[in-house]
């Protein structure tokens, strides 16, 4: 029997949750700073208000639960799940106050979409949104993409507690021996790319005729949403706003970098360039992109009329990269996907989105390492049946180091794969129940759960609230990869009668 949560468990959970809420109070000062730069006084007041609200709630909790205890696994997982919901509710307040959302649930949807780096949006009239609110939408992508807990690791958590809470946020890979060092490395790499690509995109925007101040604002937002595979954009037309192949190419590069494992980034940063050619997950990922682009392109050319070769390639390749990395950027629009993508290409896009990017990256979905491991296991089984019964088959794969394929790897990968597939399907069935075609419902559900953000138009402010709620839950559990959410649900039941 799984042990119940005790009162001591609750103390630890609430104490660290309180601290992470205080952290949100500090994070809300960033958009406040943007508001002051652009003289946006009303948004500035909203951010002050929300920052103070976070501080007051956070301090209230740690005042009531002041004990700093060592965290065990279940506490770590519960904190990870709980804090994502709290950040969603608090992060949605400035969005709702902006007046760009019909309902608070719409703002919560957008907030979860940003934090989980999904990119599905319910915002209205985005083209007239204040810079600071828009920055907050993107900054939430950065917080969630990098990881709320990962940020907390740099400040609050130490020792054995750190790893236990780190795993709760769907990250099990320790790039460096210590998770705090790992967190520092992830932030370091992200900040380096932030500077490099903000400069590149900024100058490209200037070259396209956009004013310097707006160019760099767009650049920083596009980078954040691309690197963290969120797919938000400053304007309502997403990447199609720029009418630029150059922007398509740069954003494709950013999202591929965002979707590869931080372990591989570490190898590259430390000069081990051969790892790119040896890394099993990266090779599977790139091979998948090439193959799926090829087949989706063939399908598109066969069924869609009046589109020339180059245009078809541009649209298809961009969407396959967008879907596979989980970014959800589009160089066209949701109506185009709905009306002109043949079912064959849509199905391939659903598969692409469902598979997701690489493990220990900012992208969602099942992840390529798990798919690769299951394929390896399949090969191992086939080999086992083909060889004499006394032969022991050992499969190895290279992911940063040479690893022997064990049953525990395959078991966990299979569980996660099944959980994702079932959730995609449940979301699809709910969409169908609410009157949408099954293929479109499945597309949208997969996009939400795999944290992609591509849409065939179902996601809009007028969609049923039940579907909004379904997608919020899908985005949340998809980002945290199920286990910690299940532990959290158990925690909720324990609240009724803690031991």
């Amino acid at each position: 029997m799984i042990p119940q949560f005790s009162r001591d468990d609750l103390k630890g959970i609430f104490h660290y949750t309180g601290k992470l809420i205080i952290l949100l109070g500090y994070l809300l000062l960033f958009p406040l700073f943007v508001a002051l730069i652009y003289n946006e006084w009303n948004p500035a007041i909203d951010f002050i208000f929300c920052s103070l609200l976070s501080f007051s709630i956070g301090y209230l909790i740690i005042w009531r639960f002041p004990e700093e205890v060592d965290i065990n696994w279940r506490q770590g997982m519960t904190i990870a799940s709980l804090i994502w919901l709290i950040y969603m509710f608090l992060g949605a307040i400035p969005l709702y106050l902006s007046g760009h959302y019909n309902l608070y649930i719409d703002a919560c949807f957008e907030s979860m979409s940003a934090l989980a780096t999904t990119g599905l949006v319910l915002v209205k009239n985005l083209d007239h949104m204040a810079h600071s609110y828009n920055f907050w939408r993107h900054f939430m992508c950065f917080i969630g993409g990098q990881g709320i807990i990962l940020l907390g690791l740099l400040i609050f958590f130490r020792g054995a507690s750190a790893f236990k809470i780190y795993v709760g946020e769907a990250r099990e890979e320790k790039i460096l021996p210590n998770v705090v060092q790992t967190a520092k490395f992830i932030w370091f790499v992200s900040m380096c790319y932030l500077i490099i690509f903000t400069l590149i995109l900024g100058f490209v925007n200037i070259f396209h005729g956009i004013s310097p101040s707006r160019s760099f604002f767009h650049a920083i937002c596009i980078f954040i949403a691309g690197w963290d595979t969120a797919g938000f954009s400053v304007q309502s037309q997403n990447i199609a706003y720029y009418h630029s192949i150059l922007i398509d190419i740069i954003t494709s590069l950013i999202v591929i970098l965002g979707a590869i494992s931080f372990g591989l980034h570490h190898a590259i940063w430390t000069g081990k360039f051969k790892e790119i050619l040896r890394n099993y997950e990266f090779k599977t990922f790139m091979a998948n992109i090439v193959l799926l682009t090829f087949f989706a392109f063939i399908g598109f050319m066969k069924f869609t009329k009046n589109v020339d070769f180059f245009s078809s390639f541009r649209i298809i390749s961009y969407h396959i990269i967008s879907g596979h990395t989980g970014v959800g950027y589009t160089n066209t629009d949701s109506y185009y996907l709905k009306n002109y993508f043949p079912d064959f290409s849509l199905v391939l896009l659903i598969i692409t989105m469902g598979l997701g990017g690489c493990s220990c990256s900012t992208s969602g979905g099942i992840k390529m390492l798990r798919i690769g491991l299951i394929l390896k296991e399949l090969r191992k089984e086939v080999k086992g049946y083909s060889l004499p019964t006394s032969t022991i088959v050992i499969e190895k794969f290279h992911h940063i180091k040479d690893i022997s394929l064990t049953d525990s790897y395959v078991k966990l990968s299979s569980i996660i794969l099944i959980m994702f597939a079932v959730t995609y399907l449940i979301g699809g069935i709910i969409g169908t129940f609410l009157g949408y075609p099954f293929l479109h419902s499945l597309f949208e559900s997969t996009s939400a759960c795999a944290n992609v953000g591509l849409s065939v138009g179902i996601t809009n402010p007028d969609m049923p609230n039940l579907l909004k709620l379904t997608y919020i839950i899908e985005m949340w559990i998809g980002r945290l990869e199920f286990i910690s959410v299940f532990v959290f649900i158990r925690f909720l039941f324990s609240l009724r009668s803690p031991e």
């Binding site: 208000f49 005042w63 070259f207 005729g209 199609a240 706003y241 009418h243 009046n306």
Partner: protein
């Protein structure tokens, strides 16, 4: 010769649409208008982009969240003064142009190649109104936050002692 002018006249009429349509229709029933002349109205938003003789603007339906890219000639730029964004209502223009779902010239863009544009409503800057109630509420919250933080730190210090 008569036949030539007659053909020219007929093609000119067929190119000139009789009534304006909404941007939404270009998305929902795009094939009906693909490659044909359309008239649409919308607010100019964002930025003027592009170099040389050909420029890009984006226009958005005034009342709905549908926007589309419009290719205009360099000489038309002067007509537009206000680009819609936060605190700026952009100029509302009427665009007469050829609609493409997948423009071959622009590598598959969904766009309109403007034959001519006309500003029908000038845009303007508007001030944001600061909500005084929010300021009062923030001060109240500040007092509460300071009080709770003080109590927390006081208990923590006394606990350490």
């Amino acid at each position: 010769m008569k036949k030539f002018f007659l053909l020219l006249f007929i093609s000119a009429i067929s190119l000139y649409p009789s009534e304006k349509i909404k941007i939404r229709e270009l998305y929902e029933s795009g094939e009906k208008y693909n490659g044909k002349a359309v008239i649409i109205e919308g607010e100019v938003i964002g930025d003027l982009m592009g170099k040389g003789e050909e420029r890009w603007i984006n226009i958005k339906d005034e009342f709905e969240d549908f926007a589309i890219g419009v290719v205009i000639s360099k000489k038309e730029i002067e007509k537009i003064e206000n680009f819609g964004r936060y605190r700026i209502k952009g100029d509302v223009i009427k665009v007469h142009g050829i609609y493409n779902i997948n423009c071959i010239k622009h590598y598959g863009e969904r766009d309109i190649h403007a034959l001519n544009i006309e500003v029908i409503k000038k845009g303007e800057k508007y001030k944001e109104e600061v909500n005084i109630k929010k300021i009062y509420l923030s001060f109240l919250l500040l007092s509460i936050t300071v009080l709770i933080a003080y109590l927390y730190h006081k208990e923590r210090i006394s606990g350490e002692e």
